[in-house]
Every structure is written in C-alpha cells, then in structure tokens.
Chain length 647, copies 2
C-alpha cells in the first residue's frame, strides 16, 4: 500500500491509501476529493490537472500538458497511476465546478428583483399566488373519563369542525408526536396542513405558541450547477438562496456521459447520491442554518431540471432517454416524496417536478417558459436557456415550439482550460484595449478578489474583444503578436488575461485557440438552432420581438458581445432581456402557487417539440455558424459596421 | 475490563467485555443474550437465574435462591455485578420465553382447521372473502418515434383501458423499476394492484411470465408471544406460520412495565425495535424462506394486538394509555405503512390494525370477537381471551359488552418458576396418580422431547390434579408428604413433576406454592371478571349458552381441569370451545377480506366497554375467587361432587 496525499492551496490535506497501479482520479473520487473531469476521465478535456509535489507518479504526458508544465510537475490525474508514496497539489481551479457552495446575499436587489418581477408578471395574468399549505390553529377539549376519544380522532374531529371536510389524513410522523404535543400544550395546537377539496393532510403539529415557518424548497438541478431557494410558503418570501456545482460532474460533464455512468453496477445510486446527498442536502443544511429554520419544516419541494437530470435525481434508469425512440420513464409524476429519494426535508414532503416534454426538453424549460411569459403575449418571443444543453422556445400566446441543441458545458466554463462557474474568482466581464491589448476585467466576489478563471459571460467578452480588436480572426486564430500572446511548440496560440502574479491561483488565467474553438462550437449550436427553428416556421430573425435569455451564464452577460461573436442574431439590443436562472424562478413559482403549477403543466402539454437532428439543413447551419460572427457576414450588418468603425 | 462468557446448554458461548460494577442482566441485553426478566430486573420474579461456572460475581443472595442453590453457583443476573473475568451458564429455561422461534408444521390438520373453520363461519354470514389486491396482466404497445408517451403514462393508459378508472397511482418503488421491467419484457407485464372505486394503486410490476405470489402477513402481537401467518392474498392459503416470544419481554412481563420502559430516553425506539427488528422481522424472514417467497412481495399486513402493544409497535407514546383518563393515541389508523415502522416487507404495504376500543380492550379482542361469531347468534355467548391480560366479551347479535382484567403472564408460563410458552419441552398436559402421586405428562415437541418447563395448560392440569388428589388444599398449600413433595427452610412447599435426571434442562421441573399462588390469582382475576360482568347485566353463569376460549394457553387446555380449579364457571363441559389464537385468526380474516375488516370496525364501534376497577363488588369477587375452586363452593357443585367421588 502507498500513501497518497492530496494537498490544497489553502494548506489543507487529505490522505488516502492506494495500491500500486490505482488510478489517481478514481482515488480522488474515493477520497471525496473534488477534481473535475468533465470528460469522465478519458484524457480528452484536460481539466484534471494536479501538480506533483513529492514522490512519484506513473503518468503519461498528454497534449494538455506542455513540456514546461510537465517539468514543473503538472500531470493529468486521469492518466496517472500510483507507483510510490506521493503528494499532489490539487489547485483551486481543479474543483472550481464542484466546490464553493454559495449562500447568496439576499440584500442584493438584483437577486430579489428577479423573483419579485416574475411573481408580479404571473399574478398580472390572473394566476393566484396561493398554494395548498396552511397553518390552522385549534383548541380542543381536553379528554376526560367522560370524553375518551383517542387523540387522532380528537384531532380529526377538531379539523372537520374547523373546515367542512370529508377526510382527514394524519400520517405516521404526526401520529407519532401527537400524544406529546397535545398534552404538552393542553390540546391547543397549530397544524401545518395541505388542503384539497374535501381532503386534508396533516404535515405537522406544534404547540399553539410556537413560531412556525412553513418552508418550501425550489431547486434547479442543472447538469453543471445546482441552485436552490428556501422560501416561506405563506408569504412567498425567499429566506435563503444557494448554489453549488452538481456533484455528478465527476461522472462526466454532459448528460450522455452521466447516463453511461448510471448504467454501471450501482450507478443509479451513485449518481443519485452525488446530486442528493453530496449536493442538494448540503445546500439545504446551509440554507436552513442561514435562515434559522429546521429542514424538517420544509413541507414541499419543486424541481426544475432537464429530463436526464430528473431521472438521475429520482434514481431511475435514464438509458431509454438517450436511445431511440427516446422514451423517458415520466414527464411528470405525482408520486415522489422526500423520503423516497432521501432529500433531507420533512419526509412526507411532496416533490413536484416541472414537466418534461421530451427526452431533450425538460422541466427546466417548461418552468423557464412560465417565467418568460411568452405564452401570454401576442408578440413573437424567443426564449433561450443557455445550459449544458441549449434549449429554445419560440412562439406567443397562440403557439409555442421548442428544440434543444447540445452546446456542451462551455457556457458554464466547461471545456475551457481556465473556465469555471460564475462564482468567486471568476472573470465575468472584460474589455481589451485595442492598442496595448491590455485587458480590464471584473471579478466575481468581494472587492480585491483575484481572478482564477473565466465564467461564461467573461469568455463571451474576451472572445468578442479579441475579435473586435483584430487579435483573432473569424476562425478564432491569433493574428497579432504581443506580450500577452503566446504560441506553444505545436503553434497553438493563447492570450493571457491575468498573469500568475496577479491571479488567485497557481497559473496564468488565459484563453487558448482550443478554448475559443470549443466556445465557437457552443455558440454555433445555439445560433444554428435559432435559425433552423425559425426557418421551419417560415420566420426570419427580424420578426422576433423579444429575446429572453436565461441560464447560469451570469447576469453580467453583455448582449452586444454575444451578438458580436454570432451567438445571438444581430437585432436591436433593446430586444434582449436577461431573465436569470428561469428554471429556478419557475420552480419557485410552481412551489408557491398551485395555479402556476397547473399553468406549467398546461404550457408543457401545448408545446410542440422539434427534433433538430432530423432537419436536413441543421448541419449546414451549424457549419456556417462556426465562425465569428458567421460565414455569412450579411446576417450581422451591425457587427460588421462596428468592426469597420473600430478599424 | 473483564471478560464475561455466557455459556449455553448446547455448548455454544457468547463473550462480552465489561467494566467492574456492570450489571450482568444489562450486559446480557447488550450482548443480545436472551435472559428473561419479567419483573424488568428488580429481583422480584426470580426468572433470571444463571449458574456461575468459573470466576467470580459480586451477587447478593435473594429469596429466590436457596442455600444449596447458591452453593451450586446459582445467581440472579439482575443482582449480579461484574468484579472479575467470569463464565456463567445460561440455562435453556432462562430464555424459554424469548427463544425458539417456530415455523409451524402446516401438515397439522388442527392448525389448518382453525383457519378454515373460521373462514367458513364468516363466509356463511354473507361476508365476501375478497380483498382489494389483484394481479392484472397487461400487453402494451411498444413505444416508437410516433408514439413517444413516457413509461408511466403508457402504463396508466393501459390500466385505465383495462378497468374504468379515474386515477392510477404509480409509487416511487414502481416508477423506479418501470423502464427496465417494461423493456426486458417487451411491454408485457403483470401488475400487483390495489383497487378502490375509481382509484388504483400499483404495488409492483413483473414480467408477464413471472410467477407472482401476492403475499399478505397477519400478526398477533401478544405481550408475551408473537404469532404470524404468511398468506397468499389471492387464494387465502396459509403459506407459513410462525411464532416466537415477544422480544420486549426483557423490558418487563406486563404492559405497565413496558410503558414505563418506553418513557426512558430512547425507549420508544428500543421497545419498537424489540418487537419489530428482533421479533417480527426474523419471523418474516423465516416464513418467507420456508414458503419460498420474497418478503418484498408481501403487500399488506394486519395486526391484532392489545392497545399498548399497538402503541409500542408503532413507536407511539403509550403513557396516556395507562394514566387517567386513559386515552390512546388511536383506536385505528389508516396511515401506517411498512416503511414507517420498518417492518421488512414491501415498503408501500399498508398495515391495518384491528381496532382498539379502549385502553385495556384492544384489537386482539375485536379481531377475536369476529372469530368467536358471538355477534351472529341469538344465544348468549362468552368469549374469553387468556393472554397476559384476560379479556372477556359477553353478548349476542343484539349487544356485546367487554371488560379486561390483569391476569399477568401466568397463562403463558410467566410468574411461574418453571413456566414457559407452549413450545418444545413444555409439559402441556398432566395427570397425577392419587395413590403414588407419580405424574404422567405430555411434552410439546417430537416424541422423546424431554420436559424443561410447564406451559399454561400444563399448569392448569398440575394444579387441578394436585387439588383433586388432595395433595394441596383450597389455599394451594401442600398437605401430603412424599418423595416428590419438598419444603425449603422457609417452609415453602413444592412438587416435582420431573426430576433433573429425566428433565431436558439442568434442574428439576417443579411447581411451588408461590407458583400456585400466582396462578390462583390469575385464574381468580378471570373468574371474578366473568361474575362481575354478568352480575352487572343481571345474568347468571347458567344463562351462558357457549364459552369460546382463546389464547396462547395451548390447544391442550383441559376444560374440566380449568373448571376444577375455579377458573371457569361450573357449567356443562360441552359448552366450552377452544378457538385457538383468535387474535391471529381474526387478523387473518381482516387481511383476506375487506368485508371482514369492515365488520370488525363495526363490531368495535358497537361494543360497550366496562371498566371493572370502577365496580365496587369486583374486589370482593376477586378475593372469593382466590381459592380452589372458590370460597363459595356452592358455585361449583359438579367439582365438589367429583372431589367427593375421588375420596
């Protein structure tokens, strides 16, 4: 046995024992050390870089490691085998996806505003912001030798007297605490109940004088990022907000790799644990602590997620989702409870799932469509969700059509050498001086936070600026020289945004031609999907009245720059609206409002799904879109004019 | 630390470590060594005898251990403290309550007959022997690119087409296996379902060609003994039958001691675990193995138990049951599922509970009343359940009155020095030669099984014979001398039924004056309860048309002897009928037949409860009944005549 020591930038270490020949990435998984491996460990993404500090590793050199880097001890964990005692440094960037759980600052006006606005929008259409949870105060007669009704019948009688009900259901969890709560409080109590016509379910019971917050939990389960809000079900108030990387990341960056991992023995539980036990439950604990409420007082949960994530969350075989004829186990289900899947909230809490409408358009999109309000306007609107999959919905109050394209994780920082999620240390905005080529950037986090990588909006800015400054050509290749521009021995160019000395990590923050190429393919997938869908409806981009952009790409997204690189069509900028994480906002609305939940099912039922891969022109559109901004520059007149002006 | 070695008669040993001063009985509990302690360890019952083999014990001598016995190493575990390494022998008798789980031989005609007769009785009254569980075969269209309905909707559609239904519920457990079962079986399946008007719940799904047994479980949870049958819900066939001591025994012999233990920290879980994890789940495993079915294919469970046992089983505070005004948490409940309490069957299985009607008349009696059929006859019948509590129901098709008395565990062998349950090694019947005073006895078990103790029916026989032979007087004191009759130095007499040499254990099987006194009080409680209840209704024992005797006392009960000792009234013997464990039989009927279940709720609702302790004459009746057969011998004319004849 050898001893493997994982050391971290903050000085902490994790020790683990290993046999000769053990794979370092696998070991890290075993030891619960987060090392991202979006490609699932087949040496293709280059994300799992660690630095050899002491001892030896039996490790191949790969394209992702330069000679100088290899000399300096850099290795890919996925191709490294144990052959001796060894100490490796796991740089912060290596776990930038997974780590850094964040309880958001709710004093932020922007954060609150997104939810408030959406609530108002929905309410204006006549949708009531009421749900089926209630708190009922009851004072019962105490039992006596002349009134010996058992506790559960006494409570039932009191509830039936309070409301006109046929049936009262008292589940085991309440029955179990009933004798004590009744007697400790002299039969004066508060009940948390769910009411339906003629039927009432008692979730919980408290003494009459206890302060009771009826909690609800809305979760957006993204392939890359999981975000959640803890709310007060009576007032709709957001008590806490948090996000972190999806713990499944280590099993692959995209849904296909995850499904493949799920097919392995024990895979269903492994993937489910990764998202529930490792990701959602810690978020819940963190939010409950910050809000000062008990997790057992969360009585309802809503989930917005793509179809695959829904299946992995539920621990249900997702293989049929990816294999023709692409059949999910469910679009929606009424039968999921917290205790079924081990979400650490009240065990009787119902979990509602924003409805999927197909294998590749899931609940994240139906929930987001609710938020986009495109279903309530005569104008033609385009809703774009920029996730690991890109999904589009186009339509108005008369019709809606949806499609999905595989953008990959680039918008959330994946497939990009210095990419990361939009958390502390991420460069989220950037301009470049045309003359000096020196960048000016904005970093997520407290003032003074040093950059460690680039999030989606930062990458868009950097590529747009590089292009508009003539530093890269339409193919994304470097065409100028300078201190910040380098070429490795294979000729691959890169641009340094922050040198190691000014960065918050152990290496330069840079963008390479491979990164740019990956991003171009991601933005090309989006643009060609927009074109293909509009064409099929005989629409032109000029007929789009509004574009609603959602996703974890960050509120800092610069629409001008997104148009510049040919990600979005070249239409007037005022038509673009960033609506934040609409999957989360939509889940929040479904949680808070029974009518909004119904409306979402209705929207899902009325939405047409278009399978892009069956449209013959899609591939041509994609190839054309894999340039900056496009092979057909005529589609981007304003961009070309601006470029001309800058010259 | 000292090493404590528990050694057993079969040669096996259990080792455990202990600190100086640790209590030996507590240690045994920790080490999972069954040593009965009906008095819960306060040195009053004398049951926890062990023999010091090697080493030392810091142990007081008590009244329960004679000088000779102390010399021979006998100690009470409850008063023994660890002071050195020690080896103790735990005799078989010490764990006779708890041990010896028994899967009954179903070839026994008597066993089968009880259930068959009861089924016929009930069916004759027009009660349908049908329940809500069904197996449905379905052939669905396989999905295609033109028919992309998700799996759960496809199944729902097929079920709705098969039956005219409003709602189909597919729980998580089924949803989770749905994709695989459907595809592995080309969408040809069998579903185990529960149907209600317009509503269908899918318990399970299998391939069309699989053999599916829809299992059901009926359990009688007695204070002393737990019995169960595993049945085929479609045919009613009994697939296996088993019983064992209630694991809660080590926390006290009667319900009051158990409730007190439940109030201690962690008590609810401890008592619940003792009956479910230690008792019921092993019985289930044993029965499933013997029947060759999987425990997860048991989809419904019914429980017959007294009110306290119901509460302890459910892990619900039973303290209010024993404290004025004696209020249970529930009489019945609709909300109990296997997963709530950890019974190891299908997690969605509903657990139905035979309804309690008060603190001291529970579901064992309502289930038993169903079986007794007294509710269906114009004649006046008396139903007697001889458990740790004795319960009576008197009435006919017009009225029924019930009451309970505390008999203690004597009928099941408790409070009797050589007492045991009616399992292998128990003397279940006995005659004594009037001249030689030599007994002839019958032992439960295979031919040649040696006696190790006395079960209830055996004790009745021995006391009756001792009395009829003039060996004891009406007060239960020995009045003859002989080889088998001994007196200790305090003058306490005893009679040896089997000397150590012929016995299957390490000591004589005997009955002492203390045992007889305990049994007299138990039988006195029953007789005085009968008298008090009949008196309150202005009835006389002569007006009883039939007596139905139930309970774990064993089918060997000799009614003549039970009358001889004054346990039952002196009425013609042909009026007495032993109906076995009617709590178990009744639970079986409730499980098998929805109509029988409803009927039981109806019987419970119409049964009047009489609280004996509030009747002023009850104590006088009891005192009078604490003789053999009674202080008022005029009530036992036939017994007195017989006694005269024998002289």
């Amino acid at each position: 046995m050898f001893k493997v020591t994982f050391s971290f930038e903050d000085g902490s270490v994790v020790e683990h024992f290993a046999n000769a020949g053990d794979n370092l990435l696998e070991l890290a998984r075993e030891a619960n050390v987060a090392i991202d491996a979006p490609c699932s460990g087949n040496a293709s993404c280059g994300k799992c870089r660690v630095q050899l500090i002491k001892g030896e590793l039996d490790s191949k050199k790969t394209l992702h490691i330069s000679d100088e880097e290899y000399q300096a001890g850099w290795r890919l964990a996925c191709v490294s085998k144990i052959c001796a005692d060894v100490t490796v440094l796991v740089p912060d960037i290596a776990s930038a996806y997974k780590s850094r759980m964040k309880v958001a600052d709710l004093s932020s006006k922007e954060e609150i505003a997104i939810f408030e606005n959406s609530k108002n929008d929905v309410e204006m259409t006549g949708i009531e912001l009421r749900n089926s949870l209630d708190v009922i105060e009851l004072e019962m007669d105490e039992p006596s030798l002349d009134d010996t009704m058992p506790d559960n019948e006494r409570l039932t009688r009191a509830l039936k007297k309070y409301m006109n009900l046929k049936q009262v259901r008292i589940p085991y969890a309440v029955l179990r605490k009933l004798p004590d709560v009744l007697r400790e409080n002299h039969f004066k109590v508060k009940c948390v109940v769910r009411t339906a016509p003629n039927d009432l379910f008692v979730y919980d019971i408290f003494g009459k004088d206890e302060d009771v917050v009826v909690g609800g939990l809305a979760v957006d389960i993204g392939t890359t990022t999981v975000s959640a809000v803890l709310i007060n079900m009576e007032t709709g108030e957001i008590l806490a907000k948090a996000s972190s990387g999806n713990g499944q990341i280590r099993f692959g960056a995209d849904v296909i790799n995850r499904i493949i991992e799920q097919q392995k023995p024990g895979g269903k539980k492994k993937l489910q644990d990764a998202v529930i036990k490792e990701t959602i439950n810690p978020l819940i604990a963190q939010m409950c602590k910050s809000a000062g409420i008990s997790a057992s007082h969360i009585y309802r949960m809503s989930v917005g997620a793509n179809t695959t994530m829904n299946h992995l969350f539920a621990g249900i075989n997702a293989d049929p989702v990816r294999m023709e004829p692409y059949i999910p186990a469910f679009f929606k289900t009424n039968s999921l409870f917290a205790s079924d899947v081990g979400v650490a909230i009240n065990k009787d809490a119902h979990i509602i799932i924003a409805p999927n409408i197909g294998s590749y358009v899931g609940g994240d999109i139906t929930a987001g469509t609710l938020v986009s309000m495109i279903w309530n306007r005569p104008e033609f609107s385009l809703f774009i969700d920029l996730g690991t999959n890109g999904e589009l919905v186009f339509g108005n109050s008369d019709f809606m059509m949806s499609c999905a394209c595989s953008a990959g994780p680039a918008f959330e920082g994946g497939d990009i050498s210095c990419g990361m999620r939009a958390t502390d240390g991420a460069i989220e905005a950037c301009t470049i001086d045309k003359e000096t080529m020196i960048p000016t950037y904005k970093v997520v986090g407290n003032p003074g936070t040093k950059p460690i990588g680039l999030c989606g909006s930062g990458i868009i800015d950097v590529i747009s600026e590089l292009f508009m400054c003539g530093i890269i050509n339409p193919k994304g290749k470097f065409v100028r020289e300078g201190e910040r521009i380098r070429h490795d021995k294979y000729g691959m160019g890169s641009y340094v945004i922050a040198f190691e000395s000014e960065a918050g990590s152990v290496k330069d923050v840079e963008i390479t031609e491979v990164d740019i190429d990956n991003f171009i393919r991601a933005k090309g997938a989006i643009f060609s999907a927009i074109r293909t869908m509009l064409n099929s409806l005989d629409f032109d981009v000029s007929m789009i009245d509004d574009v609603y952009v959602a996703g974890g790409i960050g509120s800092g997204i610069n629409m001008r720059n997104a148009v510049n690189i040919g990600m979005f069509p070249d239409i007037p900028l005022e038509k673009f609206h960033y609506i934040g994480n609409s999957s989360l906002t939509g889940s929040y609305l479904m949680l808070l409002s029974t009518a909004a939940e119904k409306k979402t099912y209705e929207l899902a039922a009325n939405m047409t799904y278009m399978e892009l891969s069956t449209v013959p022109t899609y591939m041509d559109e994609f190839v054309g879109a894999c340039f900056i901004p496009h092979t057909d520059t005529g589609m981007f007149p304003d961009v070309m004019k601006d470029l001309q002006n800058r010259k």
